[in-house]
């Protein structure tokens, strides 16, 4: 019994270390100087930890003698992510609710059809998407990016919410009908509040996907409203120029900071939400 506990904690600690060490390595690298990186080992601790690289990353890439700072890009990202999140989760949860209803015919069929969307690499259909967005007059605007996120987030959010609403007791749905609440009012007053735990999960995951997106931001956003991942790419993605790994790492971590914070703060919500039925088949 005692041995088992010891082994259990050893395993957990090992796993935690394995999961954490890559991130710690990034952190330590971002605190080194370039010379240290060129000459030392990846696993050495920084001799004199310095946030110089972080400062440089925050200033952003200077191109053609112009520096534009990451701050603005963060704002752009937020301007993209928040409405995208709101819309794609709204659409996903409403769709999920409708598909969970037993009186909706072909619901399973439509659900399967939507699930296929989960498997389409968005790059593959980029051209028609551009044409569509252009036709809607949204190309080169934040609206275009948001639309793309809503489209490509649909399958995922629908999956989450449909599974949750399926687990709502049938009696509850009946009670709602007897009380005279139609689809929308039942959604708004009853189902939406009930699905809050799943919302948390959907928001967290969708936030991660949206925040980390590079392709849509690059393709559909206006020049001055591009998300922070584009700025990050400009910092780290240069192919033929010289590389500053410490800055790269700092910038990478800086960019990932919001999502990391979200996970740090909401791990409990996440598990509870999943337990609430977000992903029960």
């Amino acid at each position: 019994m005692r041995y088992n506990r010891v082994i259990l904690y050893l395993l957990l600690a090992g796993a935690a270390l394995a999961m954490l060490s890559p991130i710690l390595l990034m952190l330590s690298t971002s605190l080194k100087t370039m010379d240290e990186i060129r000459n030392g080992s990846l696993f050495d601790l920084p001799h004199a930890p310095s946030f110089a690289a972080w400062g440089k990353a925050w200033v952003g890439r200077c191109t053609a003698g112009e520096c534009d700072g990451m701050g603005g890009y963060f704002a752009n990202s937020i301007a993209i992510v928040l409405p995208s999140l709101f819309l794609s989760i709204a659409v996903g949860s409403i769709t999920g609710y409708a598909l969970s209803l037993r009186q909706v015919r072909y619901a399973d069929f439509l659900f399967a059809a939507i699930l296929i969307g989960l498997f389409i690499p968005p790059q593959v259909t980029l051209y028609p998407m551009i044409i569509l967005v252009r036709t809607l007059g949204l190309f080169g605007t934040t609206g275009g990016v948001i639309l793309a996120h809503v489209v490509w987030g649909l399958a995922f959010t629908t999956l989450m919410f449909r599974n949750f609403f399926r687990s709502v007791p049938a009696d509850l749905i009946k009670a709602v009908r007897v009380d005279g609440a139609g689809f929308w009012s039942s959604y708004w007053y009853i189902m939406l509040p009930m699905s809050l735990p799943v919302f948390a999960v959907a928001v967290i995951l969708q936030f991660t996907y949206t925040w980390n997106d590079f392709l849509f931001g690059l393709t559909f956003a206006a020049r001055d409203s591009q998300p922070v991942t584009v700025a990050l790419n400009n910092l780290v993605g240069s192919q033929f120029g010289e590389q500053e790994y410490n800055v790269n790492m700092a910038a990478t971590m800086l960019t990932a900071l919001p999502t990391v914070l979200v996970y740090l703060c909401s791990g409990r919500l996440f598990v509870r939400g999943i337990a609430a039925g977000a992903v029960k088949g």
């Binding site: 007791p169 009696d171 009670a175 007897v178 009930m194």
Partner: protein
């Protein structure tokens, strides 16, 4: 044509017909209990009345209005579910007021009505809690409050008490009954617990396999079951059955079995032809221990006794040969808790012929 009228109601899922050609007239103010074994179609019927399941055929009218094509909320009904089906995220207050809000009732009116209902059900102090913070009985009351507040002309209950423990169930039973008396509205109540049915109903509908077996006052359903199904379904412990043929024992009609004669003193002698097969049914409490054997008694051996507190049920076996083990069919009788009954000591029993039931073994229909 007030009350609820079901007219040749049919309900099938795909090729499986659950309810077929069911007619039922429920008068206004009745407390009608639908009683039947699990899966017999009670909930299906209730859902059909509520409009939650579209009919496959037939029609339903409520208070003289044909509601067959109407949505549940337009049928002037309210429903209480077994699982309560309270809205978990709304406070009790909003749970109760939700239906009114959906109808666009003014805020102040909602507030007032919810208050009244809460008073009536004594849940005023719970109004601001969430359902999750309530005990089972309290949840049940809120569910009833949600139905009450709409002042419907018909209340539908689907096994509302089956999730409660025995004690609470007994209390709620009385409360529901008082409520019915106070409001005077029609109640249709589904249960598979026959105690509930017996104690509350003005009429009981016993269903089996989607068909009505009997529809009558509780005493009648209990005392004069229309067929063997009803007889065996209603009553706990269940009615005793003995297969045999009509015969005689002295002046009395009797049932002859392979093992011996069971006299039925008090029964109308003209009932059956001698030799005709018959199923005799009698309830545990309609058998008495006789002081001594005579032509009106039958001997049985006690096998096991179940004291329930006030009474004792004794499982026995007919034993005309007094072997102490018994050879005949088993039967259960009810005796006072302090009755002196010794295991394997045969005792004489006397059936109360006026209270027994006789069934046609072929059709199962009642004969007397």
């Amino acid at each position: 044509m007030r009350g609820v009228h079901l007219n040749r109601v049919r309900k099938s899922y795909g090729s499986v017909t659950i309810i077929d050609q069911l007619d039922l007239a429920i008068e206004e103010g009745e407390f009608l209990v639908l009683l039947g074994p699990s899966g017999c179609g009670k909930s299906t019927l209730l859902n059909a009345i509520a409009g939650l399941e579209p009919l496959s055929g037939g029609s339903i009218s409520i208070q003289g209005r044909d509601v067959t094509a109407l949505e549940p909320d337009q049928r002037d009904i309210a429903m209480v579910f077994q699982s309560y089906a309270l809205y978990p995220t709304l406070s009790v207050r909003r749970n109760i007021g939700f239906a009114l809000k959906m109808r666009g009732t003014a805020k102040a009116d909602i507030e007032r009505k919810v208050g009244e209902v809460a008073d009536l059900l004594q849940i005023t102090h719970l109004l601001d809690r969430k359902p999750g913070q309530l005990s089972g009985g309290q949840q049940q009351r809120v569910a009833i409050g949600r139905a009450l507040v709409r002042e419907p002309s018909v209340f539908l209950f689907d096994e509302p008490l089956s999730n409660l423990d025995a004690k609470l169930r007994a209390d709620m039973r009385i409360e529901l009954k008082k409520l019915h008396e106070r409001l005077g509205r029609t109640i249709i109540y589904v249960t598979h617990d026959q105690i509930e049915a017996m104690t509350m109903a003005t009429r009981i509908v016993v269903m089996n396999q989607g068909r009505i077996q009997q529809c009558d006052r509780p005493e009648v359903v209990y005392g004069r079951p229309a067929n063997r199904f009803v007889a065996s379904f209603v009553g706990a412990p269940t009615m005793n059955f003995v297969e045999g043929r009509f015969g005689r024992a002295g002046d009395h009609l009797a049932v002859l079995t392979a093992e011996g004669v069971i006299p039925l003193p008090g029964l109308d002698v003209a009932l059956g032809q001698a030799g005709q097969p018959v199923t005799l049914g009698f309830r545990p409490e309609h058998v008495a221990l006789a002081e001594a054997e005579d032509v009106t008694t039958v001997t049985a051996t006690p096998l096991m006794s179940e004291p329930t507190g006030p009474d004792m049920y004794v499982l026995m076996r007919f034993d005309p040969a007094r072997t102490g083990v018994g050879v005949g069919p088993e039967l259960t009788i009810r005796v006072p808790a302090d009755a002196a009954i010794a295991r394997h000591q045969p005792v004489p029993l006397r059936l109360d012929g006026r209270r027994i039931s006789l069934f046609d073994p072929q059709t199962g229909q009642r004969m007397n």
